[in-house]
Assembly symmetry: C2
Homo-oligomer: 333 residues x 2
Amino acid sequence: MTKSRRLTQRDVARTIGVSDMTVSRVLTGRGTVSKRTRDRVLQAVRELGYLPNRMAGSLAASRSNQVGVVLPSLTVGIFPEVASGIAFELEKAGYNPVIGVTDYDVLREESLVESMLSWNAAGIIINDFVHTERTAQLLRSVHVPTVEIMQVSGHPIHLCVGFNHAAAARCLADHLIAKGYRHFGFLGWHGTAFAASSRFGAIRDHLSEHGLSLAAPELFSSPPGVLEGKAGLSRLIAEASEIEAVIFGNDLMAVGGLLYCEEQGIAVPDQLAIAGFGGLTIGQAMKRPLTTISFPRYDVGRRAARTILNAMVGQDVTKISDLGFKLIEGSTS
Amino acid sequence: MTKSRRLTQRDVARTIGVSDMTVSRVLTGRGTVSKRTRDRVLQAVRELGYLPNRMAGSLAASRSNQVGVVLPSLTVGIFPEVASGIAFELEKAGYNPVIGVTDYDVLREESLVESMLSWNAAGIIINDFVHTERTAQLLRSVHVPTVEIMQVSGHPIHLCVGFNHAAAARCLADHLIAKGYRHFGFLGWHGTAFAASSRFGAIRDHLSEHGLSLAAPELFSSPPGVLEGKAGLSRLIAEASEIEAVIFGNDLMAVGGLLYCEEQGIAVPDQLAIAGFGGLTIGQAMKRPLTTISFPRYDVGRRAARTILNAMVGQDVTKISDLGFKLIEGSTS
DNA sequence: CTGTTAGCGCTTTCAC
DNA sequence: GTGAAAGCGCTAACAG
């Protein structure tokens, strides 16, 4: 059963006295084979324990079952769930995700995209709209579908799936304004990501239109977590003691903020309102559920994968899929 | 620059008047090429925007740059970090992880392993020791290195990287016993994973050897989170009011337990001690840092990847890499 | 140091 | 419904 040379289609063909092509037809499901031959082939495959070599198959057919997935991180924020959604949908269709992690570095992104294309990926799922010129050009020039995820307002190279970050940010700001807060703080990060910066930009512009103040020290250069939320809030309060409400760039930071308030005996929301961004479970599990914006993280992944799969078979796909967001009015505001 | 037919090595070779092989030699770095020719090749590659077709390369060389990674989840517990560690180390070496998510289903695991092997994966990284018979046989019969991660006590198919869960569990139990607790509760899950069940088994046996009581309702069938921690603790207390210390199967649950105690006004650790498992940041960011066992999640991923890479080049590798664990004595016990 | 010859294992295309 | 021939784009192995 285990030879030193791996079994080939030909071995299967020989044992039952048919040609290679017949085996190939049965296994790929393309072309016609009589029921009888098909059954014999399948049985031989099973008995021999034959595993096809997809490298050869993909080379010959010049198409592969792999979808390149290029994300900034597998641990931060939404990406674990996005990746899960992608994997789920791809695997259902017999495809595999080849995952690359850029760590928020567009040059690494570029070399990962190259690598994915070298593998003849059937499609590419990539984060955000911010790429190097070469990355964009590679993706434009290649004939496989590309889905840029997270953002929807902008110009996708090909397709995109996500939601409107600026609108979400404004929605959150409006909620806080309606609650009567006038002095705001923002704690986020200044990475390259279009999504994060468009959220901050929208909040800044929106508040300024309303003539409201915003203190936003730039502290972190990549998405921070609970500890940074605590430390950041402590510093923000020291710098801008008049603030009444703090918007955090993500839920984990906001939870950190909540924990800080608790430790310092700062009453939430009476002394200070707290808002997050993401809709993570942990935020909703706090004694005071976090006010935040939730959006369908897992579904962004699923939809991105489905979009690729549909585009591949030439099916008509929506160029821009806006999956929306939802304001969660917790009790921290 | 963008033709309809993709550029091949031959196109590069033709434009500078050398043979295909010379180009191949430059690009793979195998064999010798004069500095002058090499430079011309590289320049032509750049100018033409040539991207190699690794499908063809891998078929010809019958070896690939892809490592199959089969994990139960990309969102739960340690796996995001493990996956990151793997991706980091592989990408540094010019390899790509092809990730499959089993969702704790050994049959899905089996079909994913098949798929990885069809791609001629250079190696396989897979979770735990629990597989179907066929999965184990496939991995044994194939000539690529397999690394089973998380556990170290058991019989790896080939190689393994992780730590001793039973010892870690006993260490935690000993700590609690030393603190004087006598009536214990355990809230975990009863999945197929060897790691999780060996932790529970070790605690149960260890406590029983000391003649101590353990209430352990089996509530969840897959790794639960904060909400399940809260709900589980509520139920556990109702069922077994005499418990003095609760060990949670993971840190997220334990944080849920902490939040529950806070809401209910249960004094931690005076009325009830809480312990987790994992060493996540969130546990340490709580007002009372969580007592837990931490272990090098990211490094398990990195080491697994490095082990594959070393094994591939025939380098001598440690069959069993025990990366250890550490008791964090928080203030919840 | 470089070129030539043969494939890698499969699928495409075209016969019959 | 099935087979034969040709080749996907690259690399191993050997010559020179």
